[in-house]
Symmetry: C2
Subunit: 78 residues, 2 copies
């Protein structure tokens, strides 16, 4: 796993949770790590489909939406 536990703990605190078990924190860390891998693999595929080796923000935004992450894009739009 690549993500450090401290910032994951901050995400948890920011969301208003005060009492979260260590196992629960680790589960979230693992989920985000795996979700990140899933997204980048889709972004790489999207770049390849466009005939590029470079992964740009557009590939990543596409992959994020493809992976059901309902987030704002790099321009701040949903």
């Amino acid at each position: 796993m690549e993500l450090p536990i401290a910032p994951v703990g901050r995400i948890i605190k920011n969301a208003g949770a005060t009492r979260v078990s260590s196992d629960a924190e680790k589960a979230l860390e693992k989920a985000l790590d795996e979700k990140g891998t899933e997204i980048i693999l889709n972004a790489i595929r999207h770049a390849k489909d466009s005939g590029r080796k470079d992964v740009n923000a557009n590939d990543m935004t596409h992959a994020i939406h493809y992976n059901n992450c309902n987030i704002t894009n790099v321009n701040g739009q949903k």
Copy 2:
């Protein structure tokens, strides 16, 4: 945003991507940050529904699956 960029960059490298723009990295960081918030909010709700204030690994695993993260749970099972 809470997640530092370096470990997000390592997730990207581990997935085999070599050339990824800085904007694309930031977009992934943002997506994981927001996905993490979404998951913990669901985990908190799950704990409350069970009459608890403490968020445990079970709440988190439930929330992860609810949020379409197809990951292994804390016991290593899909």
